[in-house]
């Protein structure tokens, strides 16, 4: 725990988060969230997915505005590159989730952050999705995240913040552990 002259401000409202935690431990139903996306195919590998509402805290909720992500494939796959590939959105999700976690955990521990950069690499053998070798999985065989963090804390304190952010990360869990998926046709 580092002591600083000025209050630590990583832009995280820890009091609100701890308040939500307390409230949801009393009323577990409020902790049940449903995240929603709708997508429409544009052409070729290009799709556009939009995000506007979700359910949580016992009610329908909205983002402050509608967000969209275009996904496509790059020219090396003979596509138009109208957006990142779907598998790259997974890296975006992981980076965003871990970094948010780093900021929150650091704030809670009184650690001022000045810079949090992450570099992510995901290994994928395309022999899987191309059906060349059934022994090869479609998805990432491994993901590496390298954080470069400047903070008012010792190296071990920073490492502990990063470790804790992984323990509490939704996207980390989604990637590391199996999830049941149901796909239907309307």
């Amino acid at each position: 725990m580092s002591m600083t002259e000025t209050p630590v401000d990583n832009g995280v409202n820890v009091e609100a988060l701890l308040g939500a935690r307390e409230a949801m431990s009393q009323v577990p139903e409020a902790a049940a969230f449903v995240w929603k996306a709708t997508s429409t195919w544009v052409n070729g590998a290009h799709s556009r997915t939009s995000f506007e509402t979700f359910f949580g805290a016992g009610d329908e909720q909205s983002h402050t505005r509608r967000f969209e992500i275009d996904t496509d494939h790059p020219p090396v796959f003979a596509a138009d590159d109208n957006g990142i590939t779907p598998v790259e959105t997974v890296l975006a999700g992981l980076a965003g989730c871990l970094s948010a976690g780093v900021a929150s955990v650091a704030q809670n521990r009184g650690i001022q952050l000045r810079r949090v950069d992450a570099t992510l690499e995901g290994d994928m053998d395309l022999q899987g999705i191309l059906g060349i070798d059934p022994e090869v999985r479609n998805g990432y065989s491994g993901i590496r995240v390298r954080f470069d963090i400047d903070a008012d804390a010792s190296d071990d304190e920073v490492r502990a913040v990063v470790a804790q952010s992984q323990k509490r990360s939704a996207v980390y869990d989604i990637i590391a552990n199996p999830t049941a998926i149901v796909v239907e046709v309307a």
Binding site: P28, G142, D156, R159, A160, A163, Q164, Q166, K167, Y172, D173, I175, A176, N177, P178
Partner: protein
């Protein structure tokens, strides 16, 4: 037959006996209702090779301290049975054996305890049934192929019980680490699925790690002093073994013995077991946490001039883990050992006394129903609450609370003079 008594203690293990001693010292009439015999779970639910995780000198109970010849050794199970049996006999603990509690209800100003050997009416009740009675088996156990033999540590005795095939041990706390080690030494192929775990070296700077934890005050940290008590109470048991050679039993030691380390057992798909990709982080977390503990030890040692007597030592090497596999064909596994901890089970308590996870609602052992207490749960009042060496402190505290409560409700008390009243164990 109905017996009226000021206090009924449920369970005659370390916690029940410690409370019995405290009440005896206060001349408060009571009984211990025990489903089997004293130290029942140590007699019937522990594997053959198990020794206490704490050294012999660390078996202090109210009015008792270790006086044997091997204070730094680790007691085997049968000696623990002898210890607790002798302790109960030393103050004639009023144990009603082979008495299984079926229900406890509040009736006016009494608690009515129905057992298979009669009914008891008590002003106060102390629940001391222990933290380790019902294994917590994950739901995915039901998805394992039929050929896989499944067993929990309370039913495991020794390797001869299992066939010779490969074993998957799930959970890397003291139980999982010890059973993985024992089964590997028996010649079997062993995988260990590792979730959250607490790594500790057996000794540090020449002294047992528990000596250090006792000395620097970690073990006496109170429930209202830690930032997240719910999390502290959930922590798995320490990755330790009590052995004559005082060896370490961390993941490095297990890997060196040939145990294959994999991530948390996360799912079953057909005949494939899936293991979490989180192993690297859990190992890093455990190493960092261990580092913080050893830093605290070093700080206290320096402050108190212990550096000369207990020279600073090497830190344990970081945990090595290979890029772990994330799947394994279960057709190659003969046995799964669920070393996944215990869950609370109190079917004989009124539901309003329990939280939504079935655990007893209490603050420092004082339950929500006046006159009801619980004793011996992990980190109940302080970090060593579930240790033989720690339960006495909680019992002493709760006995004082219980006495005040009995006084307040004017419960009948015997008045036998007892010079040891209020005497506290050293």
């Amino acid at each position: 037959m109905t017996t009226s008594i000021p206090v009924a203690i449920i369970g005659a293990g370390q916690a029940g006996l410690a409370m019995s001693r405290c009440l005896t010292d206060r001349s408060i009439d009571h009984v211990l209702l025990e489903r089997g015999e004293v130290a029942h779970s140590w007699r019937t639910e522990r594997w053959d090779s198990l020794r206490l995780l704490t050294p012999n000198w660390m078996t202090r109970l109210p009015g008792h301290r270790y006086e044997g010849t091997d204070p730094n050794g680790f007691m085997p199970g049968e000696e623990v049975v002898n210890l607790l049996t002798g302790y109960g006999q030393s103050f004639a603990a009023p144990v009603h054996t082979n008495t299984t509690v079926e229900s406890i209800h509040v009736r006016g100003d009494h608690h009515v305890i129905t057992t298979d050997a009669g009914v008891y009416r008590a002003r106060a009740v102390v629940i001391a049934t222990g933290a380790a009675s019902t294994p917590r088996i994950p739901a995915l156990a039901a998805e394992l192929p039929a050929h896989v033999h499944q067993i929990a540590p309370i039913h495991y005795r020794n390797p001869d019980q299992l066939d010779d095939g490969p074993v998957l041990v799930v959970g890397a706390s003291a139980s999982g680490a010890q059973l993985a080690d024992e089964l590997r030494r028996s010649g079997r192929d062993v995988m260990l699925a590792v979730g959250d775990h607490t790594r500790l070296p057996r000794t540090y700077r020449g002294m047992d790690i528990h000596w250090w934890m006792d000395t620097i005050g970690v073990l006496s940290e109170r429930h209202d002093e830690v930032p997240d008590i719910a999390r502290a109470r959930r922590l798995p048991s320490l990755q330790l073994v009590g052995s004559p050679e005082r060896r370490d039993l961390d993941l490095n030691a297990l890997a060196a013995a040939g145990v294959e380390l994999v991530g948390r057992f996360a799912g079953v798909s057909g005949s494939t077991a899936m293991f979490s990709g989180s192993l690297a982080n859990l190992c890093a977390s455990a190493d960092l946490k261990l580092g913080r503990l050893l830093d605290r030890i070093d700080d206290v040692a320096a402050e108190h001039g212990l550096d000369a007597k207990h020279a600073p030592g090497d830190r344990p090497a970081p945990t090595h883990h290979p890029a772990p596999i994330t799947t394994r064909d279960l057709r190659s596994i003969s046995t799964v050992v669920w070393a996944t901890g215990f869950r609370p089970t109190y079917p004989w308590l009124e539901p309003h006394l329990l939280d939504r996870k079935g655990a007893i609602r209490h603050t420092g052992g004082v339950m929500t129903e006046p006159g009801m207490y619980v004793l011996g749960l992990p980190f109940q009042q302080h970090r060593a609450s579930s240790f033989i060496d720690g339960v006495g402190r909680d019992a002493t505290e709760l006995a004082a609370h219980l006495t005040s409560w009995l006084d307040a409700v004017s419960a009948p008390r015997t008045t036998t003079a007892n010079p040891s009243t209020h005497q506290r164990a050293a």
